[in-house]
């Protein structure tokens, strides 16, 4: 009851605050000095926030395999409120999933205030109680984060302290339990991390061309062993060490992570330790950027609940070391890290041909080429369940994924811009989506993206895309046309056509029309059409988003 009371009070404050702000601006637009008497009113702090609402009306469509939705309308929404006053801060988030949109974890069903916090921040010291997000190093052993649009929120609920004893040394530690939808997971998580920025510590080195950073973190989770048969470790520890060095234009960084044996649903309850190694190198000078990376992961899934699956209660964050594609057809077959074991390499080069050069033309031309390859580990099964398997260190096993792509973008005239992408993909659907029997998908994809400025604020943009493949659902063609009137309106129509499907009745046009209104931070968009079945992969896990047919509405705002 008390909880609700506080929430309602908080909400009403914010709503009235927004109204007041609007009326203040409207009533006295040209009298800033009357509107703004900072010396006469005491400062009671500030409230800000943001809001998002997504709803969809679902129609039955057996042809595209859109499941029947008994509720007909599903929606996700949230409102964040943050309060700050000098060194004090507090906030909360109201979330509502009535019921969650298709493709989101059904555990979200319901509404409430699963996120609330307060804290105090001084120059060298900060304390937070309640919900918080945190990450150690690159997140290999620990990352608590949110991706609202992907239905991920594994925040911690507990107590966190950050401390900076001297400039350049950063310490943090916490004890907490992890959020699981509208409740908390069964485990208790403890963690500590230290980061040294050498050039900040020694003022002599402040402007040195050579820069060093290093650090390390430790995580321990406790979960009681209630298993009638197995003796499971109740406390599982993991640590990660990292180091980085930069000399002028060249950077080199690496991270090593180790986890003691952690039998879990992910590794089929073997008592094997986990390891992860990653190395990144980069070169950056104006007009040219190169990055290369290598990564090895072995039994590194880490959650605060050993029985959890999907995207639930993850501690380790193991993103795919591959390019993140966002065009419709290139994002058709996304890769997801295999936490139980993989070996991967990636390289990317971006080069801009200067304005006035032969290739650069009048406005310059940019080329990005990217290559990524991921294999399974070369493993041998061992009968002893304590070990599970052995894996060779640098010997690639089965190919999981390969992506070769090149993107050229060019401004041709002051009004005309064009981009072209080619991509060749090898996708082990059995492994990545965990659906044995499909085999390997080989795909060749072309995308042409052209935009033309008709008038100062009116632009028309088109995308033409094609994916050639003999496997899976066969070839696809896609097109998009978008018309924008800055800064307030947009309208778009897109079509994805599965013309290569071997079943002729499945050679379907997935047509969607969308329109939207924008004003400062307010965005209202509506759409209607058929959406194909898709895959969303995040942090090493893929989720299926079923096909749908119907209306969508989306509202976002921040203040």
């Amino acid at each position: 009851m008390k909880k609700i009371f506080v929430c309602v009070a908080f909400l009403s404050i914010a709503v009235v605050a927004k109204a007041q702000q609007d009326s203040a601006t409207k009533s006295a637009p040209n009298k800033p000095f009357i509107q703004n008497p900072p010396l006469q009113l005491p400062n009671f702090g500030e409230i800000h926030g943001n809001f998002q609402f997504d709803a969809q009306y679902y129609r039955v469509d057996s042809l595209i395999n859109a499941p029947k939705v008994p509720e007909k309308i599903l929606s996700n929404g949230f409102l964040n409120l943050t309060y700050t006053k000098d060194k004090f801060y507090a906030g909360l988030r109201y979330e509502s999933f009535l019921n969650p949109l298709q493709g989101y974890p059904s555990g979200f069903k319901g509404s409430g205030v699963p996120h609330r916090y307060a804290g105090y921040i001084a120059d060298d010291f900060e304390v937070t109680v309640g919900n918080f997000y945190e990450q150690f190093g690159s997140g290999t052993i620990f990352r608590a984060y949110e991706e609202k649009n992907l239905g991920i929120d594994n925040s911690l609920d507990g107590l966190r302290v950050r401390f900076r004893p001297v400039k350049g040394i950063y310490l943090k530690g916490f004890v907490a339990r992890q959020r699981s939808f509208f409740a908390l997971g069964p485990g208790i998580v403890r963690g500590a991390d230290i980061d040294f920025s050498v050039n900040e510590i020694f003022t002599k080195l402040e402007n040195s061309n050579l820069r060093y950073t290093f650090g390390g973190g430790f995580i321990s989770k406790y979960q009681p062993d209630n298993d009638p048969i197995y003796i499971l470790p109740e406390n599982v520890g993991a640590f990660a060490g990292r180091a980085g060095i930069q000399y002028k234009k060249v950077t080199l960084s690496g991270e090593y992570a180790y986890k003691i044996n952690d039998p879990s649903a992910d590794n089929k309850f073997i008592y094997k330790e986990g390891t992860a190694i990653s190395i990144n190198a980069g070169y950056a000078t104006k007009g040219l950027g190169i990055s290369v990376a290598a990564k090895r992961i072995d039994n590194m899934s880490f959650r605060s609940d050993r029985a959890a699956s999907r995207t639930d209660l993850t501690l380790s964050f193991l993103p795919a070391a591959t390019k993140q594609h966002t065009y419709m057809l290139p994002s058709f077959y996304p890769y997801a890290t295999q936490p139980n074991g993989e070996l991967g390499i990636q390289g990317e080069i971006t080069y801009t041909f200067k304005k006035g050069s032969l290739v650069g033309g009048r406005y310059g031309t940019t080329i990005t080429a990217n290559y990524a390859s991921v294999w399974g580990l070369d493993t041998t099964q061992v009968a002893d369940q304590k070990v599970g398997y052995t894996a060779k260190f640098l010997s690639p096993g089965k190919l999981y994924f390969e992506d070769k792509n090149i993107e050229i973008t060019k401004k041709i005239t002051s009004k005309l811009k064009a981009g072209y992408t080619f991509m060749h993909l090898v996708y082990n659907k059995d492994v990545v989506q965990g659906v044995p029997g499909f085999g390997i998908v080989y795909a060749y994809i072309n995308v042409l993206d052209v935009s033309y400025k008709l008038a100062k604020n009116n632009t028309v943009r088109t995308e033409l895309q094609h994916m050639r493949t003999k496997q899976d659902m066969g070839s696809w063609a896609a097109g998009l046309i978008e018309y924008t009137i800055a800064p307030k309106y947009f309208i778009a129509v897109l079509d994805q056509f599965n013309y290569g499907n071997s079943e002729s009745k499945k050679q379907i046009h997935y047509v969607v029309a969308q329109a939207g209104y924008l004003k400062n931070t307010l965005r209202i968009a509506g759409g209607y059409g058929k959406q194909r079945e898709g895959i969303i992969c995040v942090g090493g896990v893929c989720r299926n988003v079923p096909a749908s047919n119907g209306f969508t509405l989306s509202i976002t705002s921040s203040f």
């Binding site: 703004n36 690159s138 997140g139 990055s291 801009t352 400062n520």
Partner: protein
């Protein structure tokens, strides 16, 4: 009943404070690293009394890259005329973080880059989706913000930058 009265009084006082502060909204204090690995506190961002643009983006975000490409072409002129500084805050997570500096260099962008890999600054600024642009006046206070990008938005942004550079108020 007294409890409600106290709450009402508290709400009102918060409101007055808020309405007052709304006009001079400061940037929240978050420690971020730049691409050289140096820690920068976002509350301490300054530009010698000239306007500042804070733009949230990511390497994988097409509209963000389009916006920053477009502005990069005219950035030298903007700087010459108004002294504006652009801080492009990359929200790329560990997947793409190591690629940010080479990406920015390869595009020949001239912006200051800050890294926000776990979204701490993004959350503190109440950003829903990217791109999201904030305009700060010479005192480092937020005077305007805008979500999403459509070609032509940069012209409007620059009109506002010029106003702020002259010390005029933004009324929208």
């Amino acid at each position: 009943m007294n409890r409600y009265k106290t709450l009402l009084a508290l709400s009102l006082s918060l409101l007055l404070g808020n309405a007052n502060a709304q006009i001079n909204r400061p940037v929240p204090a978050i420690d971020l690293k730049n691409t050289a690995g140096i820690t920068v506190n976002t509350a301490a961002i300054t530009n010698n009394g000239k306007p500042i643009i804070i733009d949230f983006w990511a390497t994988w975000c097409k509209p963000c890259v389009l916006e920053l490409n477009t502005i990069n072409d005219v950035y030298a002129d903007w700087q010459k005329e108004t002294g504006v500084k652009i801080i492009a805050v990359s929200t790329d997570d560990a997947r793409n973080l190591a690629k940010v500096a080479p990406f920015v260099a390869g595009k020949a962008w001239e912006f200051d880059i800050l890294l926000d890999p776990n979204g701490d600054f993004k959350r503190a600024m109440n950003v829903n989706n990217i791109p999201h642009t904030f305009l700060l006046n010479g005192n480092g206070e937020i005077v305007w913000q805008h979500a999403s990008y459509e070609p032509g938005d940069e012209d409007h942004l620059y009109e506002l930058v010029k106003k702020v550079a002259k010390g005029e108020k933004i009324e929208e």
